[in-house]
């Protein structure tokens, strides 16, 4: 499987047809949605680092970009506290 760089992704995500077609059934809203996805990918790349990002398939990236930050526990979660508890549990 070929992994695309974010620059390549931006090109692939761009609906090129929009730039040469006079067809009114293709409109800029699609392009805006795709720009939003490209921005989310950039954010994801920053969060997980280049190495891991480049190993992900397009659909994995899309899934992570769409779901990141969307798990709601109903209250604030202290990740350090959870890590400490896991560590203590392992030491038992």
């Amino acid at each position: 499987m070929t992994t695309l760089s974010i620059e390549q992704l931006n090109i692939y995500l761009w609906p090129a047809k929009l730039n040469y077609s006079s067809d009114s059934s293709i409109d800029a809203t699609d392009k805006i949605v795709e720009e939003i996805i490209a921005t989310k990918f950039l954010f994801l790349k920053k969060q997980i680092g280049d190495e891991l990002f480049n190993q992900l398939s397009y659909s994995d990236k899309l899934f992570m970009a769409e779901t990141a930050g969307s798990i709601d526990f109903g209250h604030a979660v202290d990740l350090y506290q959870i890590a400490r508890e896991i560590k203590e549990y392992d030491n038992l």
């Binding site: 929009l18 077609s21 067809d23 009114s24 800029a28 809203t29």
Partner: protein, 203 residues
Amino acid sequence: MQIKTIQNINITVLFSTPLNHLLISPVGLLNLFKTNDQQKDQHTFIEAPGLKIFMLPNQKKEIVFEAVRMLVNNKQETKPETSDIIDDFLKIMDSNAVEKNKMSAYGFNYDVIVEPESEQFKIGDLIGAKVAKIENIKSAGVSVVFEQKGIKYNLEIKPIGIGQQFLAHFNAHFNVNTLPSKQELKDGLIAQFDNLKDILEKI
């Protein structure tokens, strides 16, 4: 098939360089379309990155500015012969909102509701024989891209879920970087509509 109603007539123009969105303002556009009838002049302006939309809901007109395209929509349900879309289109092209000399192509678009002329119409008349063999087809449509005399066409016919009615979308694309005269544009708009009618009548 025959045309029942015209939903939208559109002219879309493409530019070789991105539009300068700073030159596109609701005040400037309203000045072009002002009728001095308060009701008719009610308007809405929507902005998003790389997108500006100017709508005159009571005149059933809409102008969309994208990065490299401008779309002029007329939803008055009038035939091309009586539509003022060419006048509206030229008003903007001749204004300072866009750079007319940077156009790279233009096209006419028609969205029409169509229905079969005869009750004997079968879905097999619209789609290929092999596809028509799929059992229990509830609805189906077609998408055809073709070229005639240097004009690129896109025709899509899709069911709208109301009886035997379909939405037909037709785009005629002209790859030219100069705008024809007003009369040629008006004649072209009518000619392509007639072309669409001819195609539909054969289905």
